[in-house]
Symmetry: C2
Subunit: 194 residues, 2 copies
């Protein structure tokens, strides 16, 4: 008999991030995550293939949203702005997850296996964005370079956003969307030889 | 008793690339590499820690040269051009290794473990270039973005160069240095919204 568990996925994610932060990723089991969330292991496996997927299912969604954003961009928009616009739109849907993103970033940074996985996800993201640009008629190497530039902008902005410490002197007021705009402007300025 | 083996490293590298291409990376042993090169396993291990290092020792040298190139760039040169100049200078020392690079690229692309290693090396390279730029007084996020842009330019150019097929209609005449200049020009054009 399957019981309906309200927001089981969200509860499992929160429990996993807490445990990974407290004990380390390697030392945490699925059984402990389920217990902390007040759910069963069976429920865990209805939502995630394994304990690593808790940290990476979001990256898959992100990629789908970013590709859709490029597909929906007005025809004739320069590739870099199609990418930038999509990044900003997606950023707005992530703003409320900043505390989770900060926790996740610390966990991934502390675990080589997870860092490798993150690099693979980012390489896949870049390939998917380049493919979306080619479907818009952007030829290579421009499509690949615009995609790589977009991923670099996102990565730099995301790390500043998720790495922000609370307290005086921080960048607390800056949203991810704002940081993405700033990073893209900075990339344009750098590329212009400034 | 240690015998002096002329160009043992180069012979081992050639033998390894041949065997990885013929049988696959996973199916090749150090004993087989040494035998193909006409050398002993002992000699292999004087040059490489393991069979993977044959494919990646060059990446470490590349990083050292690129960092040195940035350090030697004239003061006041814009960061993107300090990076571009260093990439081009290093490219000139790689030109004669195109056949090896092509073989290596095919092997790395065919083996997930090696692809991951390659991504880690590229992430390390980007971090090292960003650090070299910061030492020149380039503030973040500009240093990180210029470094990421440089790695993207290098990667795109290197793949075109090493992926070139021989025969009519290919880019056979293009050197790596030329492809890097073209990729950088394309990145600048993309970033300018073209």
């Amino acid at each position: 008999m399957t019981r309906w568990e309200p927001n089981a996925r969200g509860r499992l994610e929160l429990a996993a991030l807490e445990l990974y932060s407290e004990r380390g990723y390697d030392q945490t089991t699925v059984a402990e995550i389920a217990k902390r969330a007040g759910l069963t292991e069976r429920t865990f496996f209805r939502h995630f293939a394994d304990k690593r997927e808790v940290l990476f299912y979001g990256a898959g969604m992100l990629q789908d949203w970013l590709v859709a954003g490029i597909e929906d961009a007005p025809a004739g928009l320069p590739p870099i702005d199609a990418v930038g616009g999509s990044l900003e739109a997606v950023a707005r849907s992530l703003e409320e997850r900043r505390d989770l993103a900060r926790q996740r970033l610390a966990i991934v940074t502390a675990t080589p296996e997870l860092q490798e996985r993150e690099l693979i996800k980012l390489a896949n993201l870049s390939a998917a964005l380049a493919e979306a640009l080619r479907r818009r008629g952007v030829p290579d190497p421009g499509a690949s370079l615009a995609a790589e530039a977009g991923v670099a902008v996102f990565r730099v902005a995301f790390q500043r956003w998720a790495g922000q410490a609370a307290g005086p002197g921080d960048l607390g007021g800056q949203t991810l969307a704002q940081l993405i705009r700033d990073s893209l402007a900075e990339l344009k300025s750098i590329a212009a030889g400034k």
